[in-house]
Assembly symmetry: C2
Homo-oligomer: 214 residues x 2
């Protein structure tokens, strides 16, 4: 199909398709003339995935590229599925570290040990969590930290459900794809459900109003 | 204090401080000369909050500005705390809607009704959730939708714990501030814990490796 058809099928505007191709999220089409190329079903699939990760999952383009490359690579191994697919979805951070951060990182290590989680030192989510905890500490939100155990239990419950469903897929490529999609899109699903539930609980506990907020 | 001291106290570089002031996240200092201004403790607090929301919580600058303006406004009401503080933290979306999206939005309404959540039609998280569900549907990830009920239960449990802790603060300003901080920073806390727990559960269920992933 031509690029216009690709755009119609996926709902992605042509300039966005060209941008994703330049950035390596979607492969170039097969050249059929000086200004023409042909696209196939894999382009449809990759384009939908690219848009899901970037626009809905909120991933930086570089992270989405890495995750997509992994899903569509031919030499995927079980180690890749368990490690790289998920690690690609935690954007790298570059932030100064200080005593408060070191304390937060130690707190993350203790939490992981206390819950008996087998997590490699290289999992980038360790640092993301330490960033958030250090920020809460700096803002004086120490009672927030009391909730950490509740969050950890909840995360364990979600992860158990997710990993069981993913492992039923069997095929490594299908598993890598599911990890990427579920991890990236699960973030906005959970974030929105939490906001909806917060409003509902606030209405029950603090006393709500039935007025519409503009 | 001068801007250099403000930067030292908060760890925020001077160009970033100036950017946040231009964008209205932090108020200007009190002018003491043609090129000098003086800053107080409120600037320290607002700067820390601004950075937490933007850099760690990942909020767009406009959303952070709205949330900060609300926390530091003088005429805050109970309606504001329950509605606006939280709504400010869900960035507005502009995306085309189609049949798949309409179905997803209906699914969100049903979920909210089924769980008995009292949520106003204007809560922007309804649309964010519909976006994510429509995206999953388009990617053919229909078995993901089976997990929705687990996510909703989990969100309810988290929200209950959070709102109880927040309601103990009593003062409306302190509550608005807590809602903003907890909602924005809870997102990366939950996202990282989920990734850590996923690795741990994958190691248990699929069979992990003790090798370090580079």
């Amino acid at each position: 199909m031509r690029i216009a058809e690709l755009s119609r099928r996926t709902g992605v505007p042509i300039p966005t398709i060209k941008y994703y191709m330049r950035e390596g999220l979607v492969p170039q089409g097969e050249r059929t003339g000086p200004n023409q190329a042909r696209y196939g079903e894999e382009h449809v699939r990759r384009l939908r995935l690219a848009r899901a990760l970037v626009e809905v999952g909120g991933l930086p383009v570089a992270s989405a590229r890495e995750a997509l490359a992994l899903i569509f690579s031919s030499g995927i191994s079980e180690f890749d599925v368990l490690g790289k697919a998920q690690y690609a979805l935690t954007p790298p951070r570059e932030r100064a570290e200080d005593d408060v951060w070191d304390e937060a990182a130690a707190q993350v290590d203790e939490l992981i040990a206390r819950r008996g989680w087998q997590v490699k030192p290289g999992n980038p989510a360790r640092r993301t969590l330490a960033d958030a905890l250090a920020t809460l500490r700096r803002l004086g939100e120490d009672d927030y930290l009391d909730l950490l155990e509740t969050y950890a239990e909840t995360a364990e419950h979600l992860a158990d459900t997710e990993v069981r469903a993913i492992s039923r897929r069997g095929d490594l490529h299908a598993m890598a794809e599911a990890i990427v999609i579920w991890t990236a899109l699960g973030d906005p699903v959970i974030a929105s459900l939490r906001r909806l539930a917060q409003e509902a609980q606030a209405a029950r506990l603090i006393g709500g109003t039935t007025e519409e907020t503009a």
